[in-house]
């Protein structure tokens, strides 16, 4: 004999509708955390896009532009998908923003190290970690200062040269008390480009269980010379979508393009 209380079909439908409404609201709130348009920086063509695999995303990116200060931007990925990652995403983003905005002399390394210590206990408890690429770009010197806590793929495309993967310098946030990240410098010349993506791009999979992979991503990046940042991001996303079709998108996909121009 069934001892569970009977629930009417109307009640189930009502609960589902309420849940869907709440998820839609959550998505709207999360969407509002992403930049609407990138800031206008002299000599820089900048674009970012993020596509969640489901209603909510564990990926994030942000730009922080303040007068007379270098542009700070970051891209992050809360390991895991769906709701658990999406719950931690706003927290990770807020802490990185707060560190970038409140430290007296923030650098990518100092931002990541502080964020790691703040997030560590909660991430350990949640069995998760966050990969993050943090960077500061000074338009007057065209110098990019960056630190990378376990984030991949980051692709450097020098004008006329071969694309290359930039390895992380530190471990992901939430893994160890020390994250090892350090500041690295990259001088960007006109035509040089940096692509900071999340692993939802290279790990995208088609119906034959083939991954898009890093090699295809590098080849694709190599073919983008002369195009604008927005065109490049659209091209990357579309190529991956075509590769995977008809398989649905399985992981969040985020890409930020930073292209140095002649201005």
């Amino acid at each position: 004999m069934n001892s569970f209380p009977l629930v009417s079909q109307e009640q189930v439908l009502s609960d589902l509708a309420r849940l869907q409404t709440e998820m839609d609201l959550a998505r709207r709130v999360q969407f509002s955390l992403f930049p609407k348009i990138p800031p206008s920086i002299p000599g820089l063509d900048l674009w970012g896009v993020s596509r969640p695999a489901s209603t909510l995303s564990g990926d994030f990116y942000d730009f922080i532009a303040r007068p007379n200060q270098p542009l700070t931007f970051f891209v992050g990925d809360v390991c895991g998908m769906g709701l658990p990652a999406a719950l931690l995403m706003p927290m990770a983003r807020a802490i990185l923003r707060a560190e970038a905005n409140t430290q007296p002399a923030p650098t990518p390394k100092s931002i990541l190290q502080s964020a790691n210590l703040i997030l560590l206990d909660d991430l350990v408890e949640a069995e998760m970690f966050v990969t993050a690429f943090v960077s500061q770009y000074d338009p007057s010197s065209r110098e990019l200062l960056y630190a990378n806590a376990g984030h991949s793929p980051v692709i450097y495309c020098p004008a006329g040269g071969r694309t290359q993967l930039l390895k992380a310098d530190g471990t992901a946030l939430g893994v160890l008390r020390e994250c090892f990240s350090f500041d690295q410098r990259l001088l960007l010349n006109p035509g040089d480009m940096l692509i900071v993506a999340t692993d939802g791009l290279n790990e995208a999979r088609n119906s034959r269980c083939e991954h898009f992979g890093v090699a295809r991503l590098l080849n694709l990046a190599q073919r983008q010379a002369g195009r604008s940042a927005v065109e490049i991001s659209s091209s990357l996303i579309q190529e991956i979508r075509d590769f995977c079709a008809p398989e649905p998108q399985a992981d969040d996909q985020t890409v930020v393009i930073l292209r140095c121009t002649d201005e």
């Binding site: 990925d77 390991c79 895991g80 998908m81 350990v124 069995e127 998760m128 970690f129 990969t131 806590a149 376990g150 984030h151 991949s152 793929p153 993967l165 390895k167 992380a168 310098d169 530190g170 471990t171 992901a172 893994v175 160890l176 090892f180 692993d199 790990e203 269980c209 991954h211 890093v214 399985a250 992981d251």
Partner: protein
Amino acid sequence: MNVKTRFVDNVIILDLEGSLDRLSALQVRQAVIDVTKEQPVHVVVNLKGVDRMDSSGLSVLVLGLRRARENQGNFCLCSLQSPVRMIFELTRFDKVFEIFINEEDAVLAAASQYQSL
């Protein structure tokens, strides 16, 4: 994903075969939890049969490392295939784990630590 467990001396070997990704992560997570229950526990994860791994797979291995350490144990990896090794290098997780070229070295390292406990 094929998951097998065996003992070499006092070290538990977890043999994984297949793709260690979001599809297999839950299955491997349970295996990792099972083998890191005892105290002290020393585990070698043999990744010889793992051809691909993503961040979900890394997450499961981090869980195993944390649990082993909590139980005064060691958690080593060995026999990584090239695509898997590349992921560890790109993301700097090679700084987090003790990684060995072959199982014998990994077992030796885990067992020697075991004896010192």
